[in-house]
Amino acid sequence: MTEHILELNGITKEFPGVKALDNVQFELKTGEIHALMGENGAGKSTFIKVITGVHQPNEGRIKLEGEEITFQGPKDANAKGIAAIYQHVTNYPDLSITENIYMGHEKINKKTRMINWKEMHQDAKKLLESLGSKLDPKTEMSVLSVAQQQIVEIAKALSSNAKIIIMDEPTAALTHRESEELYKITERLRDEGVSIIFISHRFEDMYRLADRVTVFRDSQYIGTWNVVDITNDDLIVAMVGREIKQLFPDKTNIIKEEVLRLEKLGQIGRFKDISINLHRGEILGITGLVGAGRSELCQAMFGIEPYDEGAMYFEGTRISIDNPTDAIKLGIGYLPEDRQAQSLILQWEIKQNITLASLAQYSKNGWLNEKKEREIAKELAEKVDVKTNSVFSLASSLSGGNQQKVSVAKLLTTDLKVIIFDEPTKGVDIGAKSAIYQIIVDLASSGYGIIMVSSEMPEVLGLSDRIAVMCEGRLTKVMGNEEATQEKILEAAMTKEMAVH
């Protein structure tokens, strides 16, 4: 028996044009909870896929219980006792819990060659009970909450006798209470000798659970520490790689009169009682954990899914917004969180992407003026500095950061007064990040009211004039930048009680 159940050395994985992992190492002790941290795009997901056999590394060695092995596919890794629970739960919504647990390794009656439902249901029930869940294994998967689905996923991992369980941001969509349940289960698994790799953005998760933490940055291994030995600040430096301050431009924006006001805005099951205002020239950061209702609030303001209660005032007049077209007409723009799914048409040229939201400007009675369209596209693409040599290049050929710049350029075509940025730097590299920050500050300086939703605390602290924190669908705190600290934000993001203001 070696001390390390899993060892990876010198792992390099290249995709066409990108080095996703560059000579990375990792050691997992038997029976420990090991946190893996790093910013978006640091290489964590690729690394997980190497361990689970989805990707084969170009270089490097994997040792499992001291023996060197290679995985041909996910089934190989599974057979060797490695199971992963992914961020977006992948399951069969129409099938029962039992089937979800046993899909791929059903129990068969030797004599009749039939599926042994009785035994499977019983075993599934036992597994669930061992995880402290009273769910009926015959229940259809689609009626479960995300937290319950995750418990089923864990049961699935256990049913194949996993010795190593990888959890990829399992708490991302959970409420505080649900996370606490998950922590307990995870600890129980560790006590039973299972080794766990826990990936999370939440510092809270790491401090609460992990024995050791490994940090990746820009596809490289940075280091491994005992959790008790490393301070929060050191960890942030390890993850971000430089003093955070220099990432952010000097702010030159001047806050003027109110442009937007929400009064007791609510949407059934998503958020409630949101009252806040926004001024011209102001950057209002909205933060909170994933699932706190931030995106839902912004999408309601933009008319994607209308709010059910409360009122919105724009430049002093009460407005009602039923769809994005209304919002854009009024002067409210929205940069969606998922640019590939919600903003860009990847198989289109940059030009057509930039002009999609504002076609009326380059047309007369509905007929397009393509020359004018090209010119505006060129002007805006240059303004936000898209790295390309022609407006006819396809959006799919751009890197994440440049795709995001095209999304921003698209917003600038319309005559807006308020722009909502939803996770504007998600999945973009550091260079593009600071460029996007510069654009945001410039926009504020030229009089736009900016709302920026973000989970990345340095970003919220570095850019916002005011910071609003949401938790489980409610606004828990609004504070000025000068009084805001990471601790205060985290506290507000975790407590549901309204802070007095």
Binding site: P93, D94, I115, W117, L135, V143, S145, G269, R270, K272
Partner: protein, 334 residues
């Protein structure tokens, strides 16, 4: 935890309610028809009803598998006609051919048709609706072509062949017996074999199915092949029952078959469908087509009535789904 148990109860109740409701509706319909025309619930008429529903239910079971994988097969009417025509021509040329061989021949023809469709859908990735629409034309044209534009009529077929549909075993009509056997086989197949469950998995979440190592191409080819084989079988039974094979046999029958599935609670979006539901759906359509003429509803009204019932069933299903989702949201406390 507590309210989630309530939640699951609700959904299960709705699923049960659908089948019980369907059964209740069938019974209600039967009572109304019986009150208006006492000839409905007689032994002779019920036997007619069952033999007429047998072919429909055989096809509906096959279609259920296709729909569960998020597919659709519009070519089955044409496949049925082609297999019926080829079999009828064969038995009229070789009068002493054993009926079992004739059935086998029909099934083979159907399987070939199904494999072609399966390959187009799984290997080339053509949308099932478009691939089957194209093949429907091809098979229909071939039927006319092999028949030379002529009919094969009753007098050309040997009695042994015609007796496939009319004979009975242990007092049960052979057609009904075949349908019952297929129903039982299907029940076993979809509930108790790994392959059967993989069909549901592929339809419920194709991406997860890939990760679990399920061979999707194999599953897709399999369901279209089964569908083809059943259409081939149905072709033989159809021709034997009506004692005639024509170029336009069973034109548009695929729509009735799909209707039976939808009424039986099969979701076109994939992943959902039960053999008992499909059987009830087929019986409901059987009762309608048998009973409406008995209460003096013009046979030409049947298509319109069918269309309305299907639309209502589809809209009812979605409305229930939307309600459940909204309830889930309401239950979330903020």
């Amino acid at each position: 935890m507590k309210d989630n148990i309530l939640q699951s109860l609700n959904l299960e109740k709705i699923a049960k309610f659908r089948e019980l409701g369907l059964l209740g509706f069938i019974i209600l319909l039967a009572i109304i028809i019986q009150l208006l025309n006492p000839a409905f619930l007689t032994f002779g008429n019920l036997r007619d009803l069952l033999t007429n529903t047998a072919i429909l239910s055989i096809l509906a079971l096959g279609m259920m598998l296709v729909l569960i994988t998020r597919g659709i097969d519009l070519s089955i009417g044409a496949t049925l006609a082609l297999s019926g025509m080829i079999t009828a021509l064969t038995v009229s040329a070789y009068g002493n051919l054993h009926p079992l061989l004739a059935i086998l021949l029909g099934i083979m023809v159907g399987i070939i048709c199904g494999v072609i469709l399966g390959l187009l859908v799984s290997k080339i990735g053509i949308l099932p609706i478009i691939a089957s629409l194209g093949l429907m034309n091809v098979f229909r044209g071939l039927t006319f072509w092999v028949g030379g534009g002529e009919w094969v009529s009753a007098y050309q077929m040997p009695p042994s062949f015609k007796s496939i549909a009319t004979s009975s075993f242990l007092g049960i009509n052979t057609l009904v017996l075949i349908a019952v056997v297929i129903f039982l086989l299907f029940y076993y197949f979809v509930n108790n074999t790994i392959t059967g469950r993989q069909i549901y998995a592929v339809g419920s979440n194709p991406d997860s199915a890939r990760v679990s190592g399920i061979n999707q191409t194999k599953i897709l080819i399999l369901v279209y092949t089964i569908m083809g084989g059943l259409s081939g079988l149905a072709g033989v039974l159809w021709v034997s029952k009506f004692a005639s094979a024509q170029g336009d046999t069973a034109t548009g029958y695929e729509l009735t078959v799909i209707a039976a599935c939808i009424l039986g609670g099969v979701s076109i979006a994939g992943g959902v469908g039960k053999v008992t539901g499909v059987l009830l759906g087929a019986i409901l359509l059987g009762v309608l087509s048998n009973g409406l003429p008995l209460i003096n509803v013009s046979p030409f009204w049947q298509m319109g009535i069918e269309g309305m019932i299907i639309l209502i069933a589809v809209l009812f299903n979605t409305n229930v789904k939307m309600l459940v989702e909204k309830n889930n949201l309401l239950r979330r406390e903020i």
